[in-house]
Each structure stands twice: as structure tokens, then as C-alpha cells.
Symmetry: C2
Subunit: 202 residues, 2 copies
Amino acid sequence: MTEAAPSAPSPRRRDRAATRAALLEAARLRFSRQGFDGTGVREIAADAGVDAALVFRYFGSKEKLYAEAVHVEIPQGLTDGPPRPLTRVTDELLYDVVFGDWEKFDGEHPLLVMLRSAHRPAVRDQLRDRLCDGYLRDFAERLGGGDAALRAELIGALLLGMGVMRSVVGSPALTEATFDETRLLVARLVRTLTEPRADGVG
Amino acid sequence: MTEAAPSAPSPRRRDRAATRAALLEAARLRFSRQGFDGTGVREIAADAGVDAALVFRYFGSKEKLYAEAVHVEIPQGLTDGPPRPLTRVTDELLYDVVFGDWEKFDGEHPLLVMLRSAHRPAVRDQLRDRLCDGYLRDFAERLGGGDAALRAELIGALLLGMGVMRSVVGSPALTEATFDETRLLVARLVRTLTEPRADGVG
DNA sequence: CGATGAAGTCAACGATTGATGACTTATGCT
DNA sequence: AGCATAAGTCATCAATCGTTGACTTCATCG
């Protein structure tokens, strides 16, 4: 530090990239907490410590800011790469979606955040795309059988529902349960959908 | 009909109860489609064919209108009454939450509708209350065992997640699947959580 | 030091928001 | 018919919304 800490709250050196990043971070938090409609651009800009006009200079519109701030990055090598046992994959997914802290998104997985603004067509489309084509497609291919796609979506529904119960609803048992407790139960459920039935089906 | 159809679009006879009901119905649809923040009171009033001021005359505020329009009625005799097999109960719950049409709520179960505005504390509290105390409590009591509450919430998560996948996300397989197809899979999953494990657990 | 361009601020726009109170109109009773 | 009351409308308020363009301030280079 070449100069002493200024008495005034740091006026922050002018830096386009840093300001853009600060806006993105503030937007992520606000959109996560309050949804798209419940968040104003002035609110976001105030959190970032700049004027609201910069939102439109850097992102064009509130919609484009949302699209860039809230998006789902599918973890590399989760479904592609060398095949691993499916319960192993769902283990990681369980930790990712349900038990991950996701502090950048106010504690929720971006999928759950997008759920909150899913009535907007753009959000809904991205949500379906990431979930079905990103996560569940390889699931279905690996499962095999006639209703593979359906069973894959049931696994997705379980994990998504658990995330909702934990972070959105705040149900007591799932909120206080440890990862290992739940992991065993989920593994049993996944195995039920994976293994062919021992007894006659219909 | 004592009089012929009027040429002008029916001016609707002045009727407090009917107008209140029309406002409630319009509010339910709009709030379901667009969430609390994305819906304006003028929009609702226009759908009902009256002035927006009546919203405040009849309900006091937009919040109170939402509270009265969107709420979860727990079906009578679902969990209470004479005990039935749990897969039977989840069958009805599956039909209710995931496959019911709920035309009054634009096709979604009110639980899923409330999910869309769950960032508001009032909505979130009602959601947790209805889900945990209304649906899942008797589930947990009936399940028994150490982690009964957790397993009950897993069933709730599955059903809730399926509802989300079907109506909010619009995932293909679950959307096109019939009730009977899914019912068997869900029954298998519930049985997995219900029956004690045959092999050693830990 | 002085100029140049970018980074950031400011003021304002038109539209819309939830909400209020005064006003008008229709309905029902006598 | 005429009056009283409730049902419904209208105008409007103060705030806030997303968005824009002109303006100011800072950093950098010659």
C-alpha cells in the first residue's frame, strides 16, 4: 500500500472490468434472493457502489444482465468422460444441487434460483435446456430400457425437489440432515430405478 | 333467461359477492402465471371486468388478495381417517400434485404456484407450514424409525420435484407420461423408503 | 502540462406501480 | 316515484420502474 487508508469509504479506482464484475455479483445475489421482477436495477447498482446507468452501458438491459448473471454451469466430467457407477454420479449431483453452499447465489443452486423466475420464457427455456439436455440426457442413455427417459427425470425430480425442500421451503429434517445421512437414502432410491425389477413387473 | 342477450358486452349486474369471486379467480390465474411481483392489480381488475379500486375495497391490499386467492387446501381424509397403505396415499398425492389439472391455478398445483413467489416471507411460511405440517407430518409418524422425518421429506421432495419438472420446467418424458406409467415407478420408490432394508445398512 | 478518451454521475423521460378518497350510478325498499 | 345505501368508477397521489442522453471526472499518453 503506497498510501494510507482514505478516511472516506474507498472511492474505488475506475476499472471497467472490476465494476462489471461487481455489478454481476450484486445482480446474482439480488436476483437469487428476490427474483427478476422483485429486483430493481438501482438496487443492484447501489450494492455494487455505482450508478444504475452503468447497468445499461455494460449489459444493455436488465434482461441481459440477468441472463449473464444467473446461468447454470454444468460441472465438467460429471456425465461425460470415463463412465462411473450411477450412484457415484448422483452422489456428486446431490452434493452439488442440494448440499452445496453456492454463496455466489445466496446459498442456492442456480437451478433453484432460475426456478423463481421461470415464468419468463427466456429463463424457463434455459432451465429446461440445462436440466434435460445438460444433466439428464446421459442419465437416460446410461439407464437403458423403455422408460429410461422417464426414470432419468425421476432422479432429476428427486434431486431438484430436495433442493427446493431444503433451501426454498426450509423443511426441518432435510435442512438439518447431514450429507452422508441423505446420501445413503438417495443411493437406495437411485438403485431402485437403476436395477431391473426382480419380481414380475406387470 | 327472461331477456334476450344484450348487444353490448354484458354490463354485469352489481353483485358484491360475484365481483369478489371474479376478482379472486382472476387473481389466482394471474398470480399463478406471473407470480406476485409480475402481476399488477389493474391487470387483475381488468380480467374481472371491474375497476382496480375494488381490489382494495374488498381485500385491503395486494398482499391480502394474494393470501386469499392462492392457498393450499389439504384434501380431507388424505392422511387422517382410517389408515390406508402408504403407497395408496402417495398414489393419490401423485395424482393431486403432479397430474391434477388445477385449472383454477392455470394448471399447476397451488404448492408449485406458491413456489414462484416463495421469496416473500408470508408465502414461504405458508408453504412450509402446509407442506410439512399438513402433508408430511402423518407421513413421518406412519413411517417410523429413526430417520422417519427425513424419509417423509424425501417422498415430499420427489412429488414436489415431479410437479416442478412437469409443469414449470416442462421436461419431455414426465410431461408426456401417463399417470399409470409413473405411478408404478413412484410406488417402487416409496416402497424403498418404507420397507426396512433386507441387507445390512452400515 | 495539456489533451484525449473512457469511466462514472446526474437529471430526467414516460410508463407503471400500489393505494386513497371523492364522486357517480345502480339497486332495493317503502 | 323517490329516497337511501351499497357497488362501482374516476382522478389522482407519491414512488418506483427501466432506460436514455448529456454532462463531469478521472486516468493515461505525448
